[in-house]
Symmetry: C2
Subunit: 315 residues, 2 copies
């Protein structure tokens, strides 16, 4: 299996530069003095999440004649909006397959970018997406299981290496593993001294178990779906798992309470609105046993229901 | 009266670069299509507000032998934390005079940066600060009435001109007027096509009245203190007023409801936590009659009580 390289990531960086925010590293004075805390606020991307990096790289890599036929994706979350947004920028059609139970606010946000949303029963989305690909001739843009997506997400790691070459630790949320695969590849290549940790909710810690056992494990969907971190309920593919085995120094698991606390801490101390999935890496920073030196926490997304954030802030 | 120049601002930019976050311009797709909205998130600065720019420039300009005697400031708000933070970075003592009724959370945050906080009765803070200057030999760092402060705040304008030279409108909150004086000076020099608007709460619209009448006016403190935007209750000095007369195309005033709505919109749509004072410029963007073309809104600070933000988000 060919793994994504730093050259793939450099190529992606040039490809997406005009459409993606080059997020700063924010020094957070309220971290542990021995492990100065820096935040990478990917929640400030146009659709509120890092997913836009991979989507723009995947669309940008398509032959223009192929891309003109449009794109198809299945997602109930940030990948849906990312593909819809990138397709609109490229002026091509997007069909997004979403489960019927997706909150209306997410369906509306995806439609607002001009995408056609196709609702389907849970468990049917891959089949419906395949039919759409066949019918429209569009290209399927998967959420993480593709080298172009991994390389696109890796551009965040390239930026970390540019801004803080002395980084000692990088903490990255893990779901399907595209973000951790990409950032991990960049950090391994450019900052070989740094430790790279994935962070997962205890309730969806399938990757921690998989890395410990050396092979992918299958946690039931109903079990993974218990976590408040609704963006972290996927499980790696063979492709992302191969990357994670290569680039991670370990996986830290965190409790639901620790995730909620991290959401509140980011709002109060960093003035950032993070969704639970976007706050787990901070929870991992608090929980983990990390080396001394600068630590970078990826704040991967900000699409939280205002009522939930209000509830967390009210204590 | 000598006004601050673009050269002063360029000098400040070099002086503060190592200590201040170079905030990105964030494209906000949810603005008016004819006036694409960009946000300048100064709430992401280390102490959660733009005030750090002026504080670092003022301390940086002091002769090292003078600076070693320490600094003094009076403020109940973000300037207190900014001076305390900058003094700690320079390794010099800071005495901060705060009114007795200052919320404990702000007193604690100032002390956390290593400053000595001196509490005093309301209306006594300038006298107490003068006594501290006399007793300690420290240098008074005023919140806005000083060319070094204005030039420091102006570095945000320099960054806007670098990132978006085609900007058509810049909207800036006004209190003492240091931020609008500095940014306005930079924009006038580098983007002469752009309109520069101050934004004030209707309940503290003394600057709108002053600019209309051509001279400073004195709104009673009790009247200005009614606005929820607790960082916008000051009034310009002769120095900042002279700048504002020179650089502003107008002042937009906004209601308390519009300010609250803007706080919610920044949290929900931009994933930024803004204090009411930090959200008024967005309210002005919604309220004002602006030219077509790109508009930059300064999100000046993020130090809001979590309970208030929670209340606004709960609707």
């Amino acid at each position: 299996m060919r793994l994504v390289t730093i050259e793939d990531i450099r190529g992606a960086a040039g490809r997406i530069a005009a459409d993606v925010v080059r997020t700063p590293l924010l020094p957070a004075g309220w971290g542990d003095p021995d492990r100065p805390l820096w935040l990478k606020p990917e929640n400030l991307q146009p659709i509120g999440a890092f997913k836009i990096r991979g989507a723009f790289n995947a669309l940008g890599l398509l032959d223009p004649h192929v891309r003109a036929r449009g794109v198809v994706a299945y997602s109930s979350g940030n990948h849906a909006q990312a593909v819809a947004f990138a397709a609109a920028r490229y002026g091509v059609a997007a069909h997004i397959v979403m489960p019927e139970e997706t909150p209306a606010v997410k369906v509306d946000a995806t439609r607002a970018h001009g995408a056609q949303v196709v609702l389907c029963a849970a468990g049917q989305r891959e089949r419906v997406a395949s039919e759409l690909v066949e019918r429209t001739g569009g290209v399927l843009i998967p959420p993480f299981d593709h080298p172009a997506i991994i390389a696109g997400q890796g551009t965040a790691g390239l930026e970390i290496a540019e801004d803080l070459p002395s980084v000692a630790t990088v903490l990255i949320p893990i779901s399907g593993g595209g973000l951790a695969s990409g950032i991990g590849t960049a950090i391994r290549a450019l900052c070989p001294q740094a430790k790279v940790f994935g962070v997962e909710p205890e309730l969806a810690a399938d990757t921690a178990e998989a890395l410990a056992s050396g092979h992918l494990v299958d946690w039931p969907v109903a079990q993974r779906n218990r976590t408040i971190a609704d963006g972290l309920r996927s499980t790696p593919s063979a492709l992302t798992f191969a990357h994670l085995q290569h680039v991670l120094d370990g996986v830290i698991t965190v409790s639901e309470d620790e995730i909620r606390t991290a959401v509140g801490e980011l709002a109060h101390s960093a003035h950032l609105v993070a969704e639970p999935s976007g706050a787990v890496a901070l929870a991992g920073y608090r929980r983990g046993t990390l080396p001394d030196g600068p630590a970078v926490v990826i704040v991967s997304g900000g699409n939280i229901e205002p009522a939930l954030l209000g509830h967390i802030l009210a204590g």
